[in-house]
Symmetry: C2
Subunit: 410 residues, 2 copies
């Protein structure tokens, strides 16, 4: 039985507009799941540029190896994603599966092999029956259309309980461009990156080098600032494709002031997708924002934030609606970054709970307890040593997580 | 309702023999728990030497601050431990509570204040009502006796489901000495150190400097090689007291060959106590040993081992009796230490499951699945790059953990 849809799911999914230069199709190839699409093909217009950010795992999957290599050229014509099998730790067979898929898609689209990007997500260590993919691709190619974003988002789901989509528009000079994004991920989520796949498409015309700078920076404050369970996947992939079909002034550098709005909108869209991933965290019932201030540096602040966000004791306390700020003190202490115990300030839901090395005088837990009963939890910590700041996001740790992950393969 | 006793608890508790120079008493001071002892006093003979290893948390508790300072002198006459309140993040009141407790015990025993060691374990951030301790101490002192080890181990319990004790004898030259130890801890357990208190007593006569070297080294392969939930407590304390009442050749250096047996026996006792802590891990149903080999160094091996041991996805898979070795690949990859994905070998329960970048040929899961149904799980990984080895221990992550920690304070 599938777990119920996350209580943190959005009430409705946005309808993503067609995006010039992108056609999509999904298909039930029977790789693993029965009766649902598990294969996505995206066809990209000639001239499409691309950038990618990938897992830092040292045991990354064969598709990640391929994307890193092919991505160096910064050109894309197709994206093939399957769910249900990660094609990770599959040895030589893994590389062969990638090669066969890439060759098949390149032939269909009429592109170079290095212009085909592949991702796989699902179980690790099981050879990918790529002949199912190559057999399906010609059929999938016939079904390509511009208006298929929801189906695309659904095809890449694994333990996700809802599809993740976002769309925005931005002005570049006197031109208006669209950015559409889809993502998947609900467990094995920690930065650098997560079992997280996200694909962002725009009709803007931007050199690959510019895209890479925008994406790397944007990922840092979005996909690399979320965690569900501290586990880092072998397969994490975030890619940005620009089809160049929109009309706008030419951009040659990421620091071009005309890119300011585009950059802000892209960052917001990346954050929206990242939040959707956390809100579908396995078993999640609460969405938790953790703001760290007063750290020695932004990097130190992020590390402290992640120590708080990954603490099982804090995550279970949040699940139990217990404003157990003592555990926040513990997590700050274990982060290994400079913090002044006797100047530490903790705020929960906007209410001061601790300062100067102890509970606030006449601490009234009533409003804090009320905040803990909500869906959105805010924890703010000032560690009292500097000006470094960071915000990270996570979810609570519940019985649902154990249910889902104690029985994933069986 | 108290959670049931861990299924990994020993069938019987050892009877610890009296140890010359140590008298113990416990008492129900009413600090937090009703109707159970929550205060331990140990009186140590004049001339007792001591050593300590403490949490690396930067937000450590007031008692830890005190023990570090007083311990520099290496002399001990009394130990006072309370359970139910950690006296951590309690600001100036925390130091005052320590000072009052120390003064009271020193007066009772007739010792210097720096010869009194205190520990507190329980909730963080709640002022310790130390007047209950100082009021109780004179009564406790009247009850001191040599044969009270089981009661002592019980008095320091918090969420522990069973008391933890161990005893051994060792020869130093032609003399025989006894080592008795008690410990507590079941959550917030990760190295450096855990919400873990452990006190080891011996009647050997050893200089404090020698004790410190033995303890630091022994802790590395025992208490600093276990993890329940990756959370590091503000209060972790491991102390070793030597009363000097036994007769044996004089020892001046930790490298004296006459100490060889004592060192081995002490290490074994520390490991036994550390294992007892893991086996009482909150919600634990499986005891997991993780052996890493082939790493770049012993330190790298330990870091990889801890990445495996702390992975929620691996711990939930073990709870679900699922030999999901793909998640072991993931954890090795995220550890950040050198590993050769294509030479990685994984063995579960002694059976090869993966080698050379993929599942073993004709992998038969039957015996592995049988192993996963047992209480003791063994995971062996060779990461294929060097000669570094390490062994770490953990437990599974179950619904019990969520139950206990989602409702701890309420």
């Amino acid at each position: 039985m599938a777990p119920p849809v996350s209580p943190l799911a959005p009430e409705a999914f946005p309808h993503l507009p067609p995006l010039a230069g992108v056609r999509l199709a999904s298909f039930a190839s029977g790789l693993r799941y029965k009766g649902r699409a598990d294969l996505l093909l995206a066809e990209l217009a000639p001239g499409t540029t691309m950038a990618g950010v990938y897992t830092k795992s040292l045991s990354c999957s064969a598709p990640v190896d391929w994307c890193r290599k092919a991505g160096a050229k910064g050109k894309a014509r197709a994206l093939v994603v399957n769910s249900g099998n990660a094609n990770a730790f599959t040895g030589k067979a893994g590389m062969e599966a990638v090669a066969a898929t890439v060759a098949s898609a390149a032939q269909l689209i009429g592109s170079k092999e290095t212009e085909v990007f592949v991702s796989s997500t699902g179980t690790i260590g099981v050879p990918l029956p790529h002949e199912k993919i190559t057999a399906a691709l010609p059929k999938v190619a016939l079904a390509l259309k511009a208006d298929a974003w929801l189906d695309a988002a659904k095809a890449i789901m694994t333990t996700d309980t809802y599809p993740k989509l976002a769309s925005r528009q931005a002005r570049i000079g006197d031109g208006v461009v669209t950015i559409n994004g889809i993502a998947k991920g609900s467990g094995m989520i920690a930065p650098d990156m997560a079992t997280m796949l996200a694909y962002v498409f725009t009709d803007a015309a931007l050199p690959a080098k510019v895209l890479q700078q925008l994406l790397t920076k944007g990922a840092d404050k979005s996909f690399n600032a979320i965690t569900v369970d501290s586990d880092t996947s072998t397969s994490d992939t975030l890619q940005l494709f620009a089809t160049g079909q929109a009309k706008h002034p030419k951009i040659a550098s990421a620091s071009d002031p005309k890119l300011k709005e585009f950059r802000a909108v892209l960052d917001a869209l990346l954050l929206e997708l990242a939040h959707l991933v956390v809100k579908d965290g396995e078993g999640a019932t609460k969405f938790v924002e953790i703001r760290i201030a007063g750290a020695a540096s932004a990097k130190a602040a992020k590390r402290i934030g992640m120590a708080v966000a990954n603490s099982p004791l804090i995550k279970t306390a949040i699940a139990g609606e217990d404003a157990n700020w003592g555990r926040v003190v513990m997590a700050v202490g274990k982060a290994g970054e400079k913090a002044d115990r006797d100047r530490l300030m903790i705020r929960i839901g906007g209410f001061d709970v601790a300062c100067n090395g102890g509970a606030v005088p006449d601490y009234d837990e009533t409003p804090v307890a009320r905040h803990m009963k909500g869906r959105n939890i805010l924890i703010e910590v000032d560690v009292g040593v500097g000006k470094g700041k960071a915000t990270v996001w996570t979810c609570d740790l519940t019985h649902g997580y154990i249910d889902i992950n104690g029985a994933y393969r069986t």
